[in-house]
Symmetry: C2
Subunit: 299 residues, 2 copies
């Protein structure tokens, strides 16, 4: 295998037409350059340089190969400068995965600061259900997930970002809408509207509801939080909504969002990465930025 150093020696000889000077320009001794060049010639099986006492010149073969050598060295230089540019840990593309019940309500609160804090990171946003996101994270298609933490993620590395309370969304006219102090126990025997299977919010919300003695309304399953919200607004039932979704879009005339007393049902939003993920500095910056952005909103 050709060595890049040898190509440097060759181009140096071409430039200086003088072994001593060429060696100096390569910061090696003259015998070193002389020897390496001879080895290269032997390896290629052809003479590259005509040696004369007073006068060194390249053979036609040497001339052609110097051209090729320059191309190789240029490519190598590009490799190195590319590596140098990549050295900035706070630059490059970053694929962020979020779940549908979080993305549209969270992103408006965090992207501004993320883009300010990490101006050289290009964020690509991917919205998918937890299972898909984990798969893609594992495959390397995604770099970072932001979603509710589940035990099945223990093989990954995760950072707690914030706890998002779940609120009770009811029609204004509902008996629970005007209750002074609301607790999970109040849900007993209520029928709860839910999202479709696959949304982790459904499992979490229904977990709380079941333990409170409420039941799932199996007559309909919403495919998104917004349809769910519309169903509540049109009086078809009540449901648990994440605080960010409740806060953002009030639909205030028709829906009442009730805060629970302690113990408040929550979902713990975490940032998840592969263990050994290469851009930890970047991850830490994201964690800090999101926590900061959320500290003002979740009180």
């Amino acid at each position: 295998m050709i060595k890049l150093r040898d190509l440097e020696y060759l181009t140096a000889i071409d430039k200086h037409k003088h072994f001593g000077k060429a060696a100096q320009s390569c910061f090696v001794s003259q015998p070193t350059l002389s020897g390496q060049l001879m080895k290269l010639e032997e390896q290629l099986g052809l003479q590259l340089v005509e040696r004369h006492r007073r006068n060194v010149m390249l053979t036609p073969a040497g001339d052609q190969l110097v051209e090729e050598a320059r191309k190789v060295l240029q490519a190598a230089g590009q490799f190195e400068s590319c590596a140098k540019a990549l050295l900035d840990p706070f630059a490059g593309d970053l694929h962020l995965g979020l779940i549908p019940t979080l993305a549209p309500y969270l992103l408006p609160h965090i992207m501004a600061d993320l883009n300010t804090t990490l101006p050289n990171i290009n964020f690509f946003l991917h919205e998918n259900q937890t299972k898909v996101l984990l798969q893609q994270l594992d495959e390397g298609k995604l770099d970072v997930l932001i979603l509710p933490y589940l035990v099945e993620m223990e093989k990954f590395e995760s950072y707690q970002l914030f706890d998002e309370p779940l609120m009770l969304a009811t029609p204004k006219s509902h008996r629970l809408a005007n209750k002074k102090s609301l607790s999970l126990a109040d849900l007993q025997d209520e029928k709860i509207l839910t999202l479709a299977d696959g949304h982790c919010l459904k499992d979490q919300a229904m977990g709380y509801c079941f333990s409170a003695g409420a039941k799932e309304d199996i007559s309909f399953q919403a495919t998104s939080l917004e349809t769910l919200r519309h169903m509540v607004a049109s009086g078809m039932g009540i449901t648990l909504l994440p605080a960010l979704a409740a806060q953002g879009n009030l639909a205030s005339d028709t829906i009442h969002y009730g805060k629970f007393q302690a113990p408040v049902p929550i979902r713990g939003i975490s940032l998840v990465i592969r263990p050994n993920y290469s851009r930890m500095q970047c991850v830490r910056a994201i964690v800090a930025s999101v926590r900061k952005s959320l500290s003002d909103i979740i009180s």
Copy 2:
């Protein structure tokens, strides 16, 4: 300095996503590849590979650098295949220098066989006076000269090709035109037309003439053999012409070309190269070809 082998390891990892298989494809042991790759990462200061037990993947930086690495390796491959192509000693460009009093009369006799014998050599022909040719040979602008040998060429390497007799060119009406047996002594007291200074033929021809007791006609100097020939044809005098020039273009009605008896004046045509010239096999083939071509013509 980056090493090409490391780039191969990197691309192999990208291809196989598996250290063992990648190592196998590079014909090294897995620890070797593992270690070299780690060194490369350390050297660049950035992580290229995410290592997991079950799953190896490139970091975004690694992904980009694999692209660069491929370009470098491709350039290196081109270098090597170019060297391979140059391995054929009977291929490539060859710059041949000749003097004006020889080129137009010799080339028609030798080029056909040269092109047949060395089909992959591209001959570039350069016509100049001896002094210029020697300078250009020394500078490497020319590879091979074909010209009359002079002692000042002893620092070069030379191969005798053939002896070209000099003939006496006279008008048909000249007293020497019809002489049965012609010798140099017959030139005594004749005035000889000559070429301009700088043409080595002038010096050689006049050397013979002077020692025979002839004189130079200083009233005019021809800039080429053809003008010289025309001057003879128009009766302005006599001159010595090289046999090849006499043979080719007879101008037979008006000029008589006389052969000298022994000692025949000649110029010894040699092939001259730099000592240590790299393409000796090619040179030997040229020498053989020219000698063969000329053996039929100079008898």
